[in-house]
């Protein structure tokens, strides 16, 4: 199997080289671009599995670039930004980036994020379709691109990254039992949070958050197998 090819778009030469080396050491093939023109060239020449895109580029900004790429291509994008703010993260994700990484990042975190995005992309039949995904279930609204959850009352409900991934797994398999092993695998794909909590803790937290004023969360335990979201999901 050929290693996935990562295109690094970064204007700082030293950081570009260091990132490339870190990825190569972890078994990725790497292509480099210092700005927009080189990036377009690289995209035309060969197969790219994922783009690491710096938001602050000379010339065209990473945000504009992301929009342009999305018009032509469904290739997964991870934003790299020197701005660490939440608002920035949301804007990036809204524009169609698959993940967002703030400078400075470590090798472990970088590699894990890339693997998670690649795996997520692999799980999806059509990545482009998910990008615009706003899913409704039991009065709740999950905005997948922004990774936000809105309660039936219209309030933003804060989910951790792991909890959101778990929710997405349930939403993708609505009204089907999801095996514990599958969920564990999924939660391992998620990193950045170096915690060792079990999948059961995650599920119970998600349940607590999804519990409404009236009733329990729509996630049921299937003894010995796993968990199930027992309400239909509608795509909007």
């Amino acid at each position: 199997m050929t290693p996935p090819t990562i295109l690094i778009v970064e204007d700082d030469p030293a950081l570009r080289t260091l990132t490339a080396r870190a990825l190569q050491e972890n078994g990725f093939a790497v292509k480099l671009a210092n700005a927009a023109p080189e990036m377009w060239q690289a995209l035309e020449v060969g197969q790219i599995d994922l783009i690491l895109l710096d938001i602050m580029l000379p010339g065209t900004s990473g945000i504009d670039l992301c929009r342009q790429i999305r018009q032509k291509n469904a290739v997964p994008i991870i934003f790299i930004s020197a701005k660490g703010s939440e608002v920035d993260r949301v804007v990036g994700l809204e524009l169609g980036a698959d993940d967002y990484l703030a400078k400075p990042f470590g090798t472990r975190e970088l590699v894990a994020r890339i693997r998670a995005v690649l795996r997520r992309g692999g799980l999806e039949n059509a990545p482009g379709e998910r990008e615009a995904g706003i899913l409704g279930f039991d009065g709740w609204t999950a905005n997948l691109p922004r990774r936000e959850l809105m309660s039936p009352s219209g309030a933003q409900v804060e989910l951790t990254g792991a909890e959101f991934d778990l929710l997405v797994a349930f939403l993708d398999n609505a009204q089907r039992v999801v095996a514990r092993e599958r969920l564990i695998e999924l939660s391992r794909a998620r990193i950045g949070d170096s915690s060792d909590r079990s999948i059961d803790v995650l599920v119970s937290r998600l349940r607590r958050k999804l519990s409404g004023a009236g009733g329990a969360a729509p996630i049921v335990t299937v003894r010995g197998v796993g968990y199930m979201l027992n309400v239909p999901v509608e795509r909007r």
Binding site: L18, T19, A22, V87, K103, S153, A155, E158, K209
Partner: protein, 443 residues
Amino acid sequence: MIRPSVGLLGRIVAILLLAVTIEFAVSTYLYERASHVSVRDDEARRLAEHLIVARRVLNERPAFERPEVAEELTTDRYIVSWSSVAPPRPTIAPAMDSMRRQIVDWEPSLAATDIHLRLTSPGRTSVVSGDLRLDDGSLLSFRMREGVRTLDLAFGRVLLALIPAIALMLLSGALIGRILHPLRTLARAADTLGRGQGGGKGAALLVPERGPGEVRHVTRAFNRMQARIGRLIDERTRALAAVGHDLRTPLARLRLRADAIRDDDVREAIGRDIEEMEAMVSSLMAFLGGEGDVEQPELTDLAILCANLADDAADHGRDVRYVGPDHFDCRLRRFGMKRALTNLVENALHYGEHAIITLRTDPGDDVRIRVEDDGPGIPEESLELVLEPFVRLDTARRRDTVGFGLGLSIVARVVAAEGGVLTLANRAEGGLCAEIRLPHCRT
């Protein structure tokens, strides 16, 4: 303290009032005098003629006929009566002396009759009455039926003249108020300058140049000053933001380079240093607004926000508990509030071992979020001080304080943006209690 002042408007109105009063008094005096003379001349002539006739007729009649004759002499203008003995004369009003002179001037023969005039007030109006002696020493009394209305007229005129004067005062008050309006606008603008309202960092709120020349000058000068201050703040913010961003790229390089270090201890130590530097850059950015975010309030589940902080800390092996409702919707800037609460929890865990986040949403009370720890607390005299930016109480506390000492300043700023209050207090059982009260976030 500013000495209470009448204000420009009050002063101008006072001056106007004085001017109008003086003008009014003077003109009234002149007018009154002229009318006195003309009315009396005419009146005096008639009265004199009537008195001459009455005196002549009464003189010719015997005493017993005189009361009847006097009655006949009574016209619809004058009441005439006769008495043989003189009643005591009341004190004579000075104004009547001039009328007497007028009468005597017209009919000099009356001068010899010891004529006296006086002003009496049987009812509400004053009437002129008087008496004179007949040849045999008996007394002819007379009284004008119609009251002398000069005094009442004067009073009416005062009122009449006062109405336009009052209207004039009100009108000029309104006009002066209009003139002073730009000055008040200016004062308000100056008052709000630098409060950072509307999320503007140095965003100048230009005051329209209106009103009299002097006020325009002041306004223009103020606007220019405001623009200068705005530019300075913007430049400073941009410069520091650029420094922050530019620092993160070398930090990122350092981080990746550090990953190549074989020695685990050294690598981890460098990793911690980098994390600390990153935390400092982040807090500086957050404090200076260098990230350029203007967040809008949105409906947020505050209970879950708080519970998440406890979960996060628990995942990292720390003991943080959340006590409060499962759900509580309110309207606030959630990323800002998350940052503030994160700072409080980090602070609590830095100085203490355990922390409790309490959310209280009692109806009729402000929404309260408390973060309590079991650390050493803060000396009472420094409770206010630690809210100031760049203040650290290293002397009294552990030396390994992370960051610039901006944590609590950022919290205070976020809470202020929500219209809330942050208070720090030492708990009776030891440790610090940071309380955020949000009066306006309820939906």
